[in-house]
Subunit: 426 residues, 2 copies
């Protein structure tokens, strides 16, 4: 197999005709497969069927400190949950708040607080008409959506194989209107890249001009290794302390992709100062979070090791899915020189870059053949991928046979789009 | 027993000495009882031990429409929950959103939205430095706390036995800076008063000058009758529609005092316009609420009649508690003319008015004797009860024997405070 560019017109026609034929066969089958969102598969959720109640009565619905979890109280969450998340995040549990079922909700509320109250004694963000947020691209559409909702101008910073382009970030934070950035430091969404030590250290040592600059450090995939040896991520809080910068970071995580998606427990960890400012709000926002669900989780997971042991079962389910997609991508597109993709060691996504200007067309072809992808462009603010080349693949939910068909269709779409590009170029 | 005012000094001294002696005996006992918050009692929570999982597996964790509730999806909550709350609130279920565990959180977020976004195309509330909110007093401290957190000036409107003083409300809404009010229309907190039909109709027909005026209609006790015949509350949405005013109201409720306090399901209902503005936020704030908990509730309660049937069990637990407090209040303070209280037919509280200027002192005496009451003054904004006379009693959590002791101590404190008042007056 040689690069498609080197094909003679005749070869290209043949190649295209073959691809078109196969593609049409799939279209004829009326397939409907969804690779749009990072949803866990049912088989993964089955693992927790016994988490729910078995032990509730014997422990009298009480947390370790004797609190009846069926009743009000304990704003910061039950101690055992705070300790568990403290271990997961590598933070003192006293700086952790165990909350409800959604970490996205926590991030939204944190930014909302910046909007109407402001941080570190600075004016509310809403008062700054030029407020800006750094968007590492490609990135998580829901992060961008929050910043857009709150009227931030989003500034793209490209992702590298070591994390965000830090030269650019260090330049941007000289602007007092730049109020923060989103980071998914481990198994980034969608690239599956884990920030290098150097990147974490450069983030930790940043001295933004804006005293109310905050990094929304979304550690959604912190224990989500797909292989035995997962990536290692340097502890941002330990590093930030060395530079007196711990107030620049608030970290978020949840068990949505550990136990139940949307019905797990979320948590945030923050420096003493940020913790105080957050809890001044929480005191008025809620009486207490769902401690029953926290109790379920704390009973199921005594320590972070229990979580890691459990996550191996996830890996066993996810690995063949990732490998199916990656195998077919390399078999079908290997040396054609029309697509690039990463091979993540964890997380929930594979990021596929196709020839510039053809991602949307690939998406259309896939849709026509019954394969739903994350909206092409969604990995960029305002859903505008300047090069129209990035596609996020979410292999977690479909079965392996479904993934085989879906990935074949994706590859065919990439081939057809590439042929079109080349022909129009010639 | 005659009015204390009519006692001769000698009689008063005798009376006071007797009260002081009994009071000292209680102090000596080192009692510790809490009547501060409207927390359900364990016996009430026990009712739901079987709600949790029994049926989960047989229904495969699926909602009626086949959605796997262990996974993401369905932003507005599962249909069966929306329908249940629709029945409870008397609203079309399509205007209902079933959410997480806290309705207070929903109210906070709604007001936050007014702060940073604004409603009905008006400027964000944060931009109005003179923003005001109406506080019906005595009222719920957490409502006032939210408005204060967001920098609203709170304007007191006294509660009458028919609801808020509507003459005053109708006057205040002529001010464009008055952006809303909190209402607990059924079994109000703390008075236990249900708004009369006239009050509901006058609320429904209000034409506030501020287009973004919103009533936070907190229907926390809508099915919380303590007696067979509970109070009847006119449906605010039906009435408001008659005047084209349905956008003035957003109603909130939860099962916190139906199933688990802080671990139930909350809901809000809003007009099409408000629903749209709220869901524009929700779409970005969260992926989906905890459908597992919604499923538990929907399975346990098929219809509003199931809820009402269940609430009779609550009434059986709460009635003797209310009656114990009310009996002792009338036995001890009956004709002394030094205290007034209401006799609610539902809800969670009894509101006690003592002689002007002595509520704080009564609170201190109770505390010294080991009885914790809701912070005296907390039923008013800024914790300032202008007449220092209102005390909120929460009889739901202590046992009947505990309530007997607590109420005796409260009565003794009221007597001692009254004697002090009278002596200093003489």
């Amino acid at each position: 197999m040689k690069a498609l560019m080197e094909y003679t017109t005749e070869q290209l026609n043949e190649f295209e005709a073959a691809a078109q034929k196969k593609y049409d066969e799939f279209v004829a089958q009326g397939i409907s497969l969804n690779m749009a969102r990072g949803k866990p598969a049912s088989e993964q959720l089955d693992i927790y069927d016994n988490m729910l109640n078995e032990h509730f009565k014997e422990i009298g619905f009480k947390s370790e400190d004797g609190t009846d979890c069926r009743n009000y109280g304990i704003l910061y969450g039950i101690e055992e949950c705070r300790k568990l998340f403290g271990e997961i995040l590598g933070v003192d549990w006293k700086n952790v708040i165990a909350c409800g079922s959604s970490s996205l909700n926590l991030m939204f509320d944190f930014i909302a607080q910046g909007m109407y109250k402001g941080f570190a004694g600075c004016e509310p963000w809403v008062c700054n008409k030029n407020r800006k947020f750094i968007a590492v691209v490609p990135g998580y559409d829901r992060h961008f959506g929050i910043a857009q909702y709150f009227g931030f101008e989003l500034i793209n910073v490209p992702m590298t194989d070591k994390g965000p382009d830090m030269d650019l970030v260090e330049e941007l934070i000289k602007n007092p209107d730049v109020k923060g950035m989103f980071c998914v430091p481990k198994y980034s969404n969608p690239d599956g890249i884990t920030y290098s030590d150097e990147t974490v250290i450069r983030l930790a040592s940043m001295k933004p001009v804006a005293k109310d600059f905050r990094v929304i450090y979304d550690n959604a995939y912190i224990v989500h290794d797909v292989y035995e040896e997962g990536d290692e991520l340097l502890n941002i809080f330990d590093e930030a302390k060395k530079y007196g910068n711990e107030d620049n970071f608030v970290t978020f995580t949840s068990t949505s992709k550990i136990t139940y998606a949307g019905a797990g427990v979320s948590a945030m960890a923050a420096s003493d100062r940020n913790f105080k400012e957050i809890s001044d709000r929480l005191t008025l926002q809620i009486i207490s979070y769902d401690k029953m669900n926290q109790l379920r989780h704390a009973y199921f997971y005594k320590t972070v090791d229990d979580v890691k042991e459990q996550m191996k079962k996830h890996a066993a389910i996810l690995r063949p899915k990732f490998e199916t997609v990656l195998r077919i991508l390399s078999e079908e597109l290997g040396e054609l020189g029309v697509a690039k993709w990463n091979e993540p060691r964890g997380g929930y996504f594979i990021s596929l870059d196709v020839t510039t200007g053809s991602a949307k067309y690939v998406g259309e072809l896939c849709k026509k053949a019954g394969v739903t992808l994350t909206g092409v462009g969604a990995t960029y603010p305002y859903e505008i991928d300047p090069e129209d080349k990035n596609i996020r693949l979410a292999p977690s939910c479909p079965t392996v046979p479904e993934l085989e068909i879906a990935t074949e269709i994706i590859c065919l779409a990439v081939k057809l789009a590439a042929c079109k590009e080349i022909r129009e170029g010639k």
